[in-house]
Amino acid sequence: MTTATPRRPLPTPQPEWDFYWERTKAHELWLMRCKECHRAYFYPRPLCPYCFSRNTEWFQSSGRGRLYAFAIVHRAPHPAFADVVPYIAALVELEDGVRIPTNLVGVEPDPARVKIGMPVQVLFEDANEKISLPKFRPV
């Protein structure tokens, strides 16, 4: 599944995202939700973006969802991506109720094969010794 690994810009984890990247390193996807309004949200932050509550918590996602929107990138936006075009830039809607930006892999980057609404499942691509990126493949 992890063919064509790009020499891409990798995240420099910031304090509120250390936990997120620690868990992805262990090939687990953790998200945050609000204990007041009970909505999950992405990206993680210590305040609920829906109700401004600070009463929030981490939870582990099932990693299952559906393709919500996508682009098939033909012109690399940065030289680091020149050797991986065409690739699929995607938004996945997780069954936990959040949308997450990602890549869809394991499918031809062809609009005839990539369909919005198709069920997808998370996988983890080990980019280096510190960072593993959650990506998605069709199931």
Binding site: P9, P11, F42, Y68, H78, A90, R99, I100
Partner: protein, 382 residues
């Protein structure tokens, strides 16, 4: 919105920098300066009259010093390409509050010829953390993602036809604008055969990358009436933003212009049917399609019918982006100010070959970020 604020200020001067397009011999600040000089000349005002200074993309500390202006009111609000339309509302507020009387809004960018890196995203920001690692970088990819959702909801074939209609019609307007970069004819085949940038976008769905500057002068009503050119009244002005990252956009088919536009119309006491000219930010063909719907020119999903059969081309029923837009005229990075320049010129009757026969009320809708922000202004001439 306060309807009593309508017609309290007017746009009294507009201009581009001396040359727009490809200017390897000029810096971004030179474009600011030329545009400011030309717009003040257009207004019949001196730089000494300017007491409010507005810009985006850099601090007014930089532009003020370069221009030799010591402003009493300073606004560097920078929320993407819509910023300069947003500044009109800010100028209206500042002038009515007595903070300044003559507001100068300047823009200059050299997207095409820049010798610098242009900055880039701060690696500590959410976008660098959660989108850039996936190659979700830059406007074409972000907007293409949004467009795919529209196609899914409202139909791929009719959306594709709408994007083509917009690209082709906009090029026809550019052919009538001597300052436009792209003036060669564009056929529907040219559109469909142009290479993919990021599906669903062809090359010809995407705006240009140019060097350009522009400036707009806004003045208090009593000052405006004494100046040589007919005042272009600000009837309504509003702004809104609802996300920064594309992945945070609440609805990929709805532009934040839905909120800004509604309040701008309310302030003006007008409705979409009253508009003679719509200048709608066309960073991409899709930006126009969704903005038309969100501004209320047609209903959700009706955009493809609205632009069908070259309805927005020269001679068509609905005048749209008569300068040739960001798609074919110029787009240096943040294009919003050029919407205002063209709207004012059409209202004044200064557009030569592309002049509309009856243009009394115009709307400029700026868009910024990843379809993140909107600035809507409704302008009119007596």
């Amino acid at each position: 919105m306060r309807q009593d604020l309508a017609r309290t200020v007017a746009i009294v001067g507009v201009a581009e920098s001396d040359q727009v397009g490809v200017t390897p011999n000029k810096s971004a600040l030179q474009h600011h300066a030329e545009a400011a000089y030309n717009a003040l000349a257009d207004a019949g005002l001196s730089v000494k009259d300017v007491d409010g200074l507005f810009t985006a993309g850099l601090s007014t500390l930089t532009t003020a010093e370069y221009l030799g202006i010591n402003p009493r009111y300073s606004d560097s609000t920078s929320i993407g390409g819509s910023s300069f339309v947003v500044h009109i509302g800010h100028a209206l507020a500042a002038i009515n509050a007595g903070y300044c009387e003559v507001a100068l809004i300047t823009h200059g960018q050299i997207g095409r010829s820049s010798r610098g890196s242009g900055g880039g995203q701060d690696e500590t920001f959410p976008v660098s953390q959660f989108e850039a690692p996936y190659g979700i970088v830059g406007a074409p990819i972000n907007y293409a993602i949004a467009c795919s959702r529209y196609m899914h909801v409202y139909g791929e074939d009719r959306t594709r036809q709408a994007l083509a209609e917009i690209a082709v019609a906009t090029r026809k307007w550019a052919q009538l604008n001597p300052k436009a970069m792209m003036r060669a004819p564009m056929s529907f085949d040219d559109y469909h055969n142009s290479r993919w940038i990021a599906w669903p976008f062809h090359l010809l769905d995407c705006c240009l990358v140019t060097d350009a500057g522009a400036a707009v002068v806004v003045a208090k009503a009593d000052r405006a009436r004494d100046l040589p050119k007919k005042p272009v009244w600000v009837l309504g002005a509003a702004e809104y933003h609802d996300h920064s990252l594309m992945s945070q956009m609440p609805d990929l088919t709805v532009h934040p212009a839905r909120d800004a536009g509604q309040r701008a119309f309310e302030m003006a006491g007008l409705k979409p049917d009253d508009i003679d000219l719509a200048m709608i930010y066309d960073s991409f063909t899709y930006t126009v399609l969704m903005s038309l719907e969100s501004l209320g020119f047609c209903g959700p999903g009706e955009g493809p019918d609205f632009v069908w059969n070259q309805r927005t081309a020269p001679g068509g029923e609905f005048a749209l982006n008569t300068s040739g837009g960001g798609l074919s005229y110029t787009h240096p990075g943040m294009y919003g100010i050029f919407l205002v320049v063209e709207a004012v010129r059409q209202l004044r009757g200064e557009c030569g070959e592309r002049q509309l026969a009856n243009c009394r009320i115009a709307l400029a809708n700026g868009s910024g970020g990843s379809l993140s922000s909107a600035g809507t202004a409704i302008l009119a001439i007596d």
